[in-house]
């Protein structure tokens, strides 16, 4: 038995135990008495075809409920590399040479129209995902896959160009789509009419899309043909579009809503103290940072970048902006993940040390500012206007850096303009954020090859970093790459191409009657089919 399979079985067991634990606390009602859950969302559903929606997280989450993946990625990245539980596939196996993964589908899977879900659907999905005409946002994940072959109705084989660490993650990316319906439309016309997919919607997940009133609400209803007996427990889930967090909370407090995603941290304490409500904090896979443009002479010097980090009081930012529901970030690999280097010594807030470093680098204090070769230490800090936390943070950072004699000119600008400037290295410093996956791949932001047209906005270049990044991705087992990842984090920590600001928590809140909800960083509506509402006493 392969290591992956053993791991899978282990996880399936763990999941079953978890579910059993949920049951012993309180007995959920019989499947038929599910009831309706009303959830608030800030944004609307973008469409029902995952391959056409870009980076709208809410849409991604809803579509995962309609179109399950082969496997379910488990939220256990604190303990190790990505692990999986069975989804549409009941088992999987990696070949000895590491170039093939064989998936075995569950028996008797059907689409919501009664047609069987087969290996041909899996292959069709791969074709759609990699079609240049469809131009799926995440097509990149499939680049390492050479082919997907149907062996029989229930068996499908993914062939990779070469073995690498995150093969399973890549193979599993994206929900399985219905070939017998969507296959009728040529890929070339997919991007033209998303409504067609809504009108030809066939799903395989626990829920059906019962109604979708744009900018108003999305209604999911139980899929009677879902493979797991007794699931989902809820009859209906209504997602109301309420594009205002204050109004969402007001409606939750007023009883009009059962679940709210995205509680402002400032009001978390109030929710937690309310006996009628429960708060669900969980670590988000996201961090915010300031990237220094190392191509500008001002930020080319490592000592200067370090001084900047020392002069920014990140704890104050976290306290004031996140009310304790975040922590200062230390590494581009999140501190909640298994790959985080626990030996890193955090750069403290130490304005005195920052001053010493700046003095030593030749930036001497004069008239309340700092000067070197007749030039003042002053720079533009860009961030996207409209992102309130970032603009607020920039204001506080401006005040903090002024204390060591550095002048920050605040430039909140429109997001699209910001993108263009970032890609063209046309900025001094930029405050932004990354939402990352579990692949531990740091190439996008720190490999020197990504400086041209890629996301290495600061133009950071270090041959050793390049080499380590490449080596990590060549590993067949990600866990074995830990020493390499540690070394990478040490270098980035020493050189500070980024000043990492914070890792936020995401806060969800629900009525106290909500049971078995386990929102987590991978999916807020993780296993929504298990959720249920306790009847009023």
């Amino acid at each position: 038995m392969s290591r992956a399979l053993r791991l899978a079985l282990l996880c399936a067991g763990a999941l079953a135990a978890l579910a059993a634990l949920g049951c012993t606390r309180e007995r959920p009602p019989a499947a038929s008495s599910g009831g309706t859950l009303v959830v608030a969302t800030l944004v609307d559903l973008q469409g029902v075809n995952e391959l056409l929606s870009s980076d709208n997280r809410f849409t991604g989450e809803i579509l995962e409920l309609l179109f399950p993946r082969l496997l379910v990625e488990l939220p256990d990245f604190e303990s190790g590399p990505p692990s999986f539980a069975p989804g549409l596939a009941e088992s999987w196996e990696r070949s000895e040479d590491g170039r093939e993964i064989l998936f075995r589908l569950r028996p008797g899977l059907v689409w919501s129209d009664g047609e069987p879900l087969t290996a041909a659907d899996v292959r069709f999905t791969f074709e759609a995902q990699t079609s240049p005409e469809v131009a799926w946002s995440y097509a990149h994940a499939k680049e390492g896959i050479e082919s997907v072959e149907v062996l029989d109705d229930r068996t499908v084989r993914f062939r990779f160009r070469e073995p690498y660490a995150t093969q399973l993650l890549d193979a599993n990316e994206g929900g399985i789509l219905p070939r017998h319906v969507w296959g009728e439309r040529p890929f070339a016309s997919w991007r033209e009419d998303a409504d067609w997919f809504r009108d030809h919607l066939v799903v395989s997940g626990p829920f059906l899309l019962a109604a979708w009133r744009p900018a108003q609400e999305v209604v999911l209803a139980r899929n009677p043909r879902y493979w797991e007996p007794g699931r989902p427990r809820l009859d209906r889930v209504v997602f109301r579009v309420v594009p205002d967090q204050g109004a969402q909370l007001a409606q939750l407090l007023g009883g009009g809503l059962d679940f709210v995603l995205g509680v402002p941290p400032a009001r978390a304490a109030e929710i937690a103290a309310n006996p009628g409500l429960q708060l669900f904090p969980f670590w988000n896979r996201q961090y915010d940072y300031i990237v220094w443009n190392t191509r500008r002479p001002l930020f080319a010097d490592t000592a200067v970048r370090r001084a900047l980090t020392l002069a920014i009081d990140r704890q104050e930012l976290v306290d004031a902006l996140w009310f304790g529901y975040a922590r200062p970030a230390l590494s581009p690999l999140l501190s909640s993940s298994w790959a985080f280097h626990r030996g890193l010594e955090p750069w403290p807030y130490d304005p005195a040390a920052a001053r010493r470093l700046l003095d030593a680098a030749g930036w001497v204090e004069r008239d309340g500012g700092r000067v070197k070769d007749g030039e003042r230490f002053a720079f533009d800090l860009l961030t996207n206007a409209g992102n309130r936390v970032r603009v607020d943070a920039a204001v506080m950072i401006q005040a903090q850096l002024a204390r060591v004699g550095i002048e920050v000119r605040l430039r909140p600008i429109d997001l699209n303009t910001l993108n263009e400037k970032a890609l063209a290295h046309d900025f001094d410093a930029m405050l932004s954020g990354w939402g990352i996956d579990t692949s531990m791949d740091l190439r996008f932001a720190f490999h020197s090859e990504e400086a041209e047209g890629g996301y290495n906005f600061g133009g950071y270049a270090n041959p050793e970093v390049d080499r380590l990044i490449e080596e990590v991705q060549r590993q067949r087992d990600l866990a074995a790459a830990k020493p390499l990842l540690d070394r990478l984090q040490e270098i980035l920590h020493e050189e500070q191409p980024y000043t990492l600001l914070w890792e936020p928590q995401r806060l969800a809140a629900g009525r106290a009657a909500l049971r078995d909800a386990q929102p987590n960083a991978l999916a807020t509506f993780f296993r929504l089919e298990e959720w249920w509402l306790a009847p009023p006493p």
Partner: protein, 326 residues
């Protein structure tokens, strides 16, 4: 009766406007805090209007907002902050650290004094309004004069341009300007001026055309005065009275539009305060901290009302001929 009503409007409007201008000019001197100072984001957050706190200044420049403060032996302080006791040594404190403060209009989500932000917003809103109207007047008078006196063809071109600007969605212009120039105060002024000159141009053009047909213009031309002189000495001054009456009303409208652009995030950008973005800030906390949205809006209404009253009153007083129906 009518005249007296007009004078009453004029006086009320002028009084309110003068008060606002004075408050805006005096702004920072009126209150102990700068509008951007985050006094204590945790303990001074969303304090209701009229709350009192003891502000304790620390040696590193930060401020703590305490409910009670008692001296400790050795120069330290024992303060009660958010209901919890906290001890501070003398070395941690600034000189003369304790300052009792009353927040007349409450505080916002960062413990910033809303009254201070309101005054800062008044400066911005009034400055943007005045500057935009001044530019729009200049542009409008120039365009209107060219249209009226420049002959048929020029008239057509100028007025079609004005029509096109009128049909151009302001929202789009605001966004495009923000993309080209970067958002902020000068951009807001530019957008408001660019969308405000057309009315002035039409008014000036109509006035000039009607004046041209009057006897004194004929007389001036007959006496052989050069055309430029006739325009500057005789036509323009007569045409401008209604334009300036109109300008007061326009000022009110402009301030209103600036507020709605800033409310939508397309005008003045935080941390700079404008009444519009203060209201936007308050929207998110409407249920829990009503004052953050309510007071800036009330200030906005007072300002717009002041200029509307002023305009109406001026119209009644100066320009009985084209008294705006009321």
């Amino acid at each position: 009766m009518r005249e007296r009503g007009g004078r009453r409007l004029l006086l009320t409007g002028a009084g309110l406007a003068a008060l606002l201008l004075a408050a805006a000019l005096a702004g920072p001197a009126l209150l102990p805090h700068a509008p951007d100072t985050q006094l204590d984001p945790v303990a001074a957050r969303h304090l209701p209007p009229g709350s009192t706190r003891l502000l304790v200044t620390l040696a590193d420049g930060r401020t703590l907002a305490a409910e009670r403060v008692a001296p400790l032996p050795g120069g330290g302080l024992r303060l009660t902050r958010l209901g919890r006791e906290q001890h501070l040594a003398a070395s941690e404190l600034a000189d003369a650290p304790v300052r009792p403060t009353r927040f007349l209009l409450g505080t916002d989500r960062f413990g910033r004094d809303l009254a201070a932000r309101l005054l800062a917003g008044a400066r911005v809103s009034l400055a943007v309004g005045l500057a935009a109207v001044a530019i729009a007047l200049t542009l409008g008078i120039a365009a209107g004069s060219v249209a009226a006196l420049g002959g048929r063809w020029l008239d057509g071109v100028v007025m079609r341009i004005a029509d096109a600007f009128l049909a151009f969605p302001r929202l789009f212009l605001a966004l495009a300007a923000a993309a080209f120039l970067g958002p902020g105060l000068p951009t807001a002024i530019a957008v408001l001026a660019a969308t405000g000159w057309m009315g002035v141009a039409r008014l000036v053009r109509a006035e000039l055309l009607s004046l041209e047909g009057r006897e004194f213009a004929f007389a001036a031309r007959a006496s052989g005065l050069p055309a430029g002189r006739i325009f500057l000495r005789h036509l323009l001054p007569n045409a401008l009275t209604p334009v300036f009456v109109d300008a007061a009303l326009r000022l009110g409208d402009t301030i209103l539009i600036e507020a709605s652009l800033s409310f939508l995030g397309l005008g003045i950008q935080p941390p700079q305060a404008s009444w519009g973005n203060l209201i936007a800030d308050g929207r998110d906390a409407l249920a829990s901290a009503w004052w953050v949205a309510a007071f800036p809006g009330a200030a906005l209404v007072v300002a717009v009302l002041a200029f509307n009253l002023l305009g109406e009153g001026l119209r009644d007083a100066l320009d009985p001929r084209r008294r705006r129906p009321c």
